[in-house]
Subunit: 279 residues, 2 copies
């Protein structure tokens, strides 16, 4: 059951990446994961905003117009090919350069896009997840926090732990026992009727759906939602847990370690809003 | 004056990397930088030992024999082509895999080698370096410390700072003001006649020349050399500073911030040993 994946390098169908490339050499780049369905990419604006922040943080030349042009082209190609749904990854590498860590004086970012075609329906909600606790911790690095850069070995090692543990997702904490996120998404806790998600000042990725939830979805339902500190202890005492990402939208947590949550009324309400009113 | 670079993917001359590749996607891999001169790669054993440690840490399948075979093949190709000297980079990626962070059940690591041909003489010592202090700090992550993995954005950002500052190298410290290394090498301080280099338990790369210095070169000259803590303050009061890496061997530090060192007797003696007796 291998899903079909199509690749583009700088807008042209390709099977290989030209060498040298600084994303391969140093993880010198950024990425976005888009949900494509119903003939369009979801939430382009939110993805572009995060990418823009990352490009500035890594001091890349501005290439947002090229990104927008290529995303529009590929949206058209997927639509023309009658593809129902796809997980689309956009990778922006700093491109080629001479030997060594120093970025070239005039970098020309390389844009790699791949579309993994699937036939599921994005509206179909996934069952509540069994959540484990990753042994690997997230390092504190404010200079790289929030953006979706390519240095993802912590997530890779946590995903290996997830496979070994047989969980659906893993909670990732920092070295101070503060919750950061799950491997592929942002965690929200319901505490006394309000939503709290980690502030991500020192590590983690500011997810597009996290932003939407904080800025639009929770306010639309009159639910208070804030960023703040979430300790492992506060997670264990939460009334409800769920996480967000671009592909699943929102997913409730059924269990964490030996704790179980039977009902997920806040996530239920938010999911209804998410699946009913998507733009 | 662009140096010529030759690329091999899994032992075959290539100009591109097959997609997908997890090194591109997540920095999921390791690398080594070899000095090639006089018809051979220097210190193969030390490089192999570090690579082996990294492969185990990232839970890669053992591919050391393939690495050794390809390195031997490329050594022969460079020799046949009459190349005097080259900086050779070996990258081991976890290879291809399905979408997402989780490593494939049976990964097949991909080996990418590139040789950047130069005509300098490795024995020729570089002048003492002007050292700056990188604003970016090294995050603490014991799970990734010591190994030469591909998540190198901290070094990339420090190298950008180096260009902006007009320095030859930058000192990198952690968030506790403990010295970690320079961008492309390991730092040694001479304090009361003994050598000290950071222990690298939480960040940094255990350099091959650092190991050689600790285990062979310093003992051969009767100089005490230890790993330990080096604060920024202790660096400023050192009698002498130098750093090591695979391409320059050892390089003295002429200045750090407003401090200057005119003489470098310990590095002079070590360099003589290094350049005279190389295997």
């Amino acid at each position: 059951v291998s899903a079909q994946t199509i690749y583009w390098v700088d807008g042209i169908r390709a099977e290989a990446l030209p060498l040298p490339d600084r994303a391969l050499e140093f993880g010198d780049g950024l990425f976005e994961t888009y949900l494509y369905a119903e003939n369009r990419f979801f939430y382009l604006e939110q993805h572009l905003r995060r990418l823009s922040k990352g490009l500035k943080r890594l001091e890349f030349p501005d290439c947002l117009e090229r990104v927008q042009r290529q995303v529009a082209q590929i949206q058209q190609e997927l639509t023309d090919a009658n593809i129902q749904q796809a997980a689309v990854r956009l990778t922006v590498s700093r491109g080629s350069g001479p030997r060594g860590y120093a970025p070239p004086e005039t970098a020309c970012p390389r844009i790699v896009i791949n579309a993994t075609v699937g036939d599921s329906d994005w509206r179909k909600r996934l069952p509540p997840a069994r959540l484990g606790l990753a042994q690997i911790r997230c390092a504190s690095q404010p200079a790289l926090a929030g953006i979706k850069h390519l240095n993802r070995l912590e997530q890779v090692l946590a995903a290996q732990e997830r496979l070994d543990a047989g969980c659906d997702e893993m909670l990732m904490a920092d070295f101070n026992d503060e919750v950061v996120s799950v491997i592929s998404g942002n965690l929200f806790a319901v505490i006394k009727g309000s939503l709290v998600t980690p502030a991500l000042g020192s590590s983690g990725v500011e997810g597009t759906r996290r932003q939407l939830l904080l800025e639009q979805w929770a306010p639309a339902l009159g639910i208070e939602a804030n960023t703040g500190e979430l300790t492992l202890d506060s997670i264990r005492q939460a009334d409800e847990l769920f996480f967000t990402n671009a592909l699943v939208g929102l997913r409730s947590v059924a269990s964490f370690e030996s704790l179980h949550w039977e009902k997920h009324p806040v996530c239920d309400a938010l999911y209804k809003l998410y699946a009913g009113d998507n733009s």
